[in-house]
């Protein structure tokens, strides 16, 4: 990817985020938009892990849970500002990822999938069982970020939906920018090399273990920040945020759109976030359709939607 390509992708994303509200018929769409951005942020983290470094994780919701509960717990118990809580959560996630990543990333394929899955389940179990601290399965309230009232004091009136749409949109852009820069950097190139062949990468001097760990930590921070944003936006958290299904959802979004590219994976987030919104009309069928989509895409578009579409366009001489 050339650096021009990088700016095209970022520009496209920025324009989309800025222009879309013009077509929103109601405030509800801002909420859905913000939700999409938060999911896309987590999914970009997985692009680094799965797409660049070629490692899978079925436990990333665990990090989202850490981020989300950091925002819920630290303002209440330590009196920290929620903004600081986001960073604290991200740091905690990074440390956790570094600690568990070291032994776990020695594993491959299914073993790695299940080991990470085990981690995610442990996190959600702690969040569910430690009622005294986390409110158990019912969840707990999250303090207001306070940024919106600050903006209002400065004379900029935004509805909650508008504020979270813009705020998560900006964070998403920052996240995409970092991931795209990483792609082009020596670290990113080395990661992609080990994706191709670990042995080949090792023979040309790539420190495979260190790079895998770095990708794991980076993606954990993305998931954690996304979890924090989700908690702040909803002003409420439940252990579901760390649940197995959420992990699966994240990986599916990434793979659905195309795990090799930031823009593609974001498309996956758009589709899988919108789908349940559309399907609420017939909520009964939601799981059925979700499962079918996962299977069909994997069989017919194994590279993901965006790369497959791009290839088809190029193939027909567009």
């Amino acid at each position: 990817m050339t650096s021009r390509n990088k700016w095209i992708q970022l520009g496209l994303l920025a324009v989309l985020i800025a222009v879309l509200p013009a077509f929103f018929p109601s405030g509800y769409y801002y909420r859905v938009g913000a939700l999409i951005f938060v999911n896309a942020l987590a999914v970009i983290g997985l692009v680094v892990l799965i797409g660049y470094a070629g490692q899978i994780s079925l436990g990333h919701a665990g990090f989202a849970g850490i981020g989300a509960y950091a925002c819920a717990l630290t303002p209440e118990h330590l009196g920290l500002h929620p903004g600081l809580a986001v960073m604290l959560g991200a740091m905690l996630s990074a440390v956790m990822a570094a600690l568990i990543g070291k032994p776990i990333l020695r594993l491959k394929g299914y073993y790695l999938a299940v080991a990470t899955l085990g981690f995610g389940i442990l996190v959600s179990m702690v969040l569910t069982n430690e009622r005294a601290l986390t409110g158990g399965p019912d969840g707990m309230a999250v303090a207001d970020l306070g940024l919106r009232s600050l903006l209002r004091d400065m004379g900029w009136k935004l509805s909650g939906g508008e504020f979270w749409y813009m705020f998560s949109g900006i964070i998403l852009l920052i996240g995409a920018w970092i991931a795209l820069n990483l792609f082009d950097s020596p670290t990113g190139r080395a990661m992609r090399a080990l994706h191709g062949s670990e042995v080949a990468a090792a023979t040309v001097g790539v420190d495979v273990a260190k790079l895998k760990l770095r990708a794991f930590v980076i993606s954990a921070v993305y998931a954690s920040v996304a979890g924090s944003l989700l908690a702040l936006q909803n002003q409420y958290v439940t252990p579901d945020v760390a649940g197995f299904l959420h992990s699966v959802e994240m990986v599916t979004m990434a793979v659905l759109g195309g795990v090799g590219s930031v823009l593609g994976a974001s498309l996956g987030a758009v589709i899988l976030t919108l789908l349940p919104q559309v399907l609420t009309v017939f909520a009964e069928y939601e799981q059925l359709v979700l499962g079918a989509v996962m299977i069909v895409v994997m069989i017919f578009l194994p590279q993901g939607l965006l790369p497959s579409i791009a290839r088809r366009l190029r193939g027909t001489g567009e």
Binding site: Y110, I121, M125, T252, V259, G291, M294, I295
Partner: protein, 290 residues
Amino acid sequence: MDALLQFIFSGLTVGAVYALVALGFTIIYNASDVVNFAQGEFVMLGGMITVFAFEAGLPLPLAAVIAVLVTAAIGVALNKLAIEPARGAPVVSLIIITIGASILIRGAAQLVFDKQLHRFPSFSGDDPIAIFGATILPQSLWVIGGAIAVFVGLWLFFTHTLTGKAVLATANNRLAAQLVGINTGWVMTLSFGLSAAIGALAGVLVTPITLVSYDVGVALALKGFAAAMLGGMGNPKGALLGGLLLGLFEALTAGYLSSQYKDAMAFIVILGVLFVMPQGIFGKKTTERV
């Protein structure tokens, strides 16, 4: 001492179910190198279909047979519609496909049946049998006996029948099996049907004790997979031993430490095993060729 024996009984009962799920994983993994995350759904289907056939007025044994057959057919359909078309796909894709299948089956079960908890009567009554100061349910004996019967049956199948040997050959080397005239596509179909049937049987046996609802599959699949890994992925003996060990460990953790965290402890042990001996108890060491 009585308490310990009691924990061992309950551990062996759940352990036998995990072992059956793990056996299902093993059979499919051997034939196709696919880890089927929808394995837990087969257990759920076995229980659910039996419940509804029984409530529709069929005698229990007939309802159970129908449940096993229908589930086996669903297993075959899963292979034909989702696994075979994705032949050669990377592991991540296969993981997503089978997870997608499990979500799809769960969604369908929720539509066709309902979201309630169900059970049907135990096969030979609910009077607990007293043994050395502890008690065991007759149904638990059915579960443990069922697991042993399935294991012995599979062993005979793999060692004494030509079809069984064809499955082993395919597991060992797919290309070589094809070269000596084994229809490996058919072996895969057979494996999916067989492991779905075993899963369904587990569901039929255990439903009177643990009850069944449309969403019990996820936890069972995870435990079954953990058991298979503990014993050594792809090894039937390992699946049996891994399942029983995991069940015992869970029951002892629940009894002596914390019932809330019994599932957590199971995972911690699995992670520990993975780090110390990634191939599991019976797994063979493989070297990756490049």
